[in-house]
Amino acid sequence: MKRIITITVLNRPGVLNRITNLFTKRNYNIESISVGLTELEGVSRMTCVVHVENDGMVEQITKQLNKQIDVLKVADISDQAIVARELALVKVPVLPQNRAEIYSLIEPFRASVIDVSKDSIIIQLTGETEKIEAFIELIKPYGIRELARTGTTAFPRGNQRTSQQKTYSFV
């Protein structure tokens, strides 16, 4: 099953290395990891999408992350009401005869064309992973020249806070 884990870390040298290393060392399967600054100076936030076999594994991952000295907060937000987004850039070749067809796909996905050249366009798309994947499936037959995805970033909706760390029996 897929879980979304957010990690708030002190932005110190080597911190990203420490976190990604942990995933390798413990043999965890990460689908994506995205990192960026937050509203607090010196604090970054990572969003990891991981595949796990059972709840015990998420618990282990969370505890191992929590143990890291630079980690301020870890939360498995998968079961909360969240907004999760990722951004994808897709470069697709266009021919005069399929241009209209391709453009007709873009609109329903609320994607936009951000670059146009003689024989190709770059489409920008944001949304949940499922939406991005559906779009990629549809556009595939036209030939994808290049594809780049940011990985998911997410947080809870409304007035829930990420700091509501998933609690385990012993905490």
């Binding site: 040298p13 080597g14 282990q60 191992q64 000295i69 630079d70 301020l72 385990y168 012993f170």
Partner: protein, 571 residues
């Protein structure tokens, strides 16, 4: 005007990065540094020249870090290591990984090339932060001179608090050599908002444990090295006695509970004793205090404590539930948890029948070996025990001899046992004994080594000779990589692929070359005489025990088997 100028000068006196380092070490009351100089740490060495801290020069950096581990294990204080950049730093990697596995507090300084050339593959540059990240509790690279006092203070705190572990500080040469123009820094403030180890356990969980104890019919305590780190052995004894609960030890926990005690069942695990393993198999309540359910202890997890409610007290929450499903998790220091348990004063379990069964097993299935006309390693251990009244510090290497030491030297007290458990590092024993002896100069220290492992750190004899450390080096010489040979005998149809040592130096002559007395010992009678002669001498000695090369360690749980499936339990 002039007076005012003089005054400012007095406060803004210059201080170098290396100076700050040495001062910080003095402030942490560091007694001994295990270090090896080189280009990148020369500024630091120049300052050490004037310092009162004892400096021990191993003959290989790996020896230095193992010595620091031995020192940390016996003294309870952090071991301090210095290595130069590049090869100096990569030479200590094994020791860092070893300390991480066995939760030993170390503060390690590695030299680094100057900040301006980091990342250019400069001479003797290695990415030590990158290399050590997965095997350290934490690591730093100094970026500004003014941070040095804070970083060192934090490093000592992190290494020694919570679950102890190694911390690396990578120190670029220009920052050690550079000066700070600022007024002398006051006590630095630590900045570790993400690090708050839990020491005080949750009362509700402790109460749950206490209730489970009252209901149990077959309770057992599994005591790990967490007992030793928390200095909780006296409390453990009090609690076990009060509730009449038997105690099993892990390899690393030995000494936490007195071996002769009637509630003591012995060491469990792959080469543990029958009673201890069977107690873990049949118990209905397993109270793990400070052990991490390592696979060498549990055997096949499917058959581990299958009928038990599992309670686990550990300072590291990530250990709880990692390998064994746990119904009563108690996060906290073993000492605090035992104190709370004591206070709760729960009803003792109804375990009379259980204690009788265990007593019968203890009686029927002691460790055993068969004697013949060749010197038996178990006999040597028994003699060492007898002639040191069981009060020596025993340091081992890794292999068969390590298991015989664990089986035949029943420790009466805590902190007399140094062994590489988690990583199982050959070459650990001899240097670790140096650190142990420095930590406790009055103690009799016995280094129990295999002939293979001894040859991995032979060069450290020089340190023993230099400081005239009265270590008793006992080589269990079976002219083989014995543990490997044993596995090949059992599991690879006696195909002894590269496990028999074809060439071996004369260890006695080797010792002699370092100015250390040495004896070859071929029989029990010789062992008696020579041990009587040398054990209480205040000088080093090397004893080359020519033991039976065919001897195996029993009992044994074959890999993949359950804890109840021991072989070789009885004559």
């Amino acid at each position: 005007m002039e007076a005012a100028l003089k005054e400012t000068k007095a406060v803004t006196k210059e201080i170098s990065g290396a100076d700050l380092l040495v001062r910080a070490l003095e402030k942490e009351n560091v007694e001994v540094i295990f270090g090896y100089p080189g280009g990148a740490v020369l500024p630091i060495y120049d300052k050490l020249y004037d310092s009162k801290i004892l400096h021990v020069l191993p003959r290989h950096e790996q020896g230095g870090i193992h010595a620091a581990e031995g020192y940390a294990r016996i003294s309870g204080k952090p071991g301090v290591v210095i290595a130069t950049s590049g090869p100096g730093a990569t030479n200590i990697i094994t020791g860092i990984a070893d300390a991480m596995m066995d939760s030993l507090p170390l503060v390690i300084f590695t030299g680094q090339v100057a900040t301006g050339v980091i990342g250019t593959d400069a001479f003797q540059e290695a990415d030590i932060l990158g290399i050590t990240t997965p095997i350290t509790k934490y690591n730093y690279q100094v970026r500004e001179i003014k941070d040095i006092p804070r970083i060192i203070k934090e490093a000592f705190y992190i290494a020694t608090s919570g679950r102890p572990g190694p911390v690396v500080i990578d120190f670029p040469k220009d920052l050690a050599a550079g000066f700070l123009q600022e007024p002398e820094l006051a006590d630095p403030e630590m900045r570790l908002p993400g690090y708050q180890p839990t020491t005080e356990p949750n009362y509700l969980q402790v109460r749950k444990l206490s209730e489970a104890v009252s209901k149990a019919k077959k309770p057992v305590i599994l005591a790990g090295a967490g007992i030793l780190h928390a200095k909780a052995s006296a409390l453990l004894k009090e609690y076990a006695e009060k509730q009449n609960i038997p105690v099993v030890h892990t390899l690393l926990g030995l000494g936490g509970f007195p071996a002769g005690h009637e509630l003591f069942l012995g060491m469990a695990g792959m080469h543990g004793c029958y009673t201890a393993n069977m107690a873990l198999y049949h118990c209905d309540l397993l109270i793990n205090i400070g052990a991490r359910f390592d696979d060498r202890l549990t055997g096949n997890l499917q058959h581990f404590a299958p009928k038990a409610t599992v309670a686990h007290i550990d300072i590291d929450p990530a250990e709880i539930g990692k390998n064994v499903a746990t119904q009563i998790p108690v996060v906290g220091d073993a000492r605090e948890a035992l104190k709370q348990l004591q206070k709760l004063d729960g009803k003792p379990p109804q375990q009379q029948e259980w204690l009788e069964t265990l007593g019968a097993w203890k009686n029927d299935y002691p460790f055993y070996y068969e004697e013949n006309d060749v010197l038996k390693p178990q006999k040597v251990m028994e003699l060492l025990y007898e002639k040191t009244a069981g009060e020596a510090i025993v340091v081992t290497d890794v292999g068969q001899h390590q298991m015989w030491a664990a089986q035949y030297y029943p420790f009466k007290t805590a902190d007399r046992w140094v062994t590489s458990g988690g990583l199982g590092t050959m070459g650990f024993g001899l240097p670790a004994s140096i650190g142990a002896q420095l930590a406790d100069p009055e103690a009799t220290v016995i280094a129990v080594l295999g002939d293979g492992g001894f040859q991995m750190s032979t060069q450290e004899l020089a340190v023993i000779a230099e400081f005239q450390l009265p270590i008793k080096i006992a080589i269990f010489n079976n002219k083989a990589l014995g543990m490997v040979r044993q596995w090949q005998e059992f599991f690879y149809q006696e195909r002894y692929s590269h496990s028999k040592n074809p060439v071996q130096p004369s260890f006695v002559k080797l010792a002699d070359a370092y100015g250390i007395k040495g004896y070859e010992i071929h029989s029990e009678a010789e062992a008696h005489t020579i041990l009587n002669e040398v054990l209480h001498d205040n000088e080093p000695v090397l004893l080359d025990f020519r033991i039976d090369g065919a001897e195996n360690v029993y009992p044994m749980i074959a890999p993949g088997k359950g804890i109840h499936e021991m072989v070789g339990v009885r004559k």
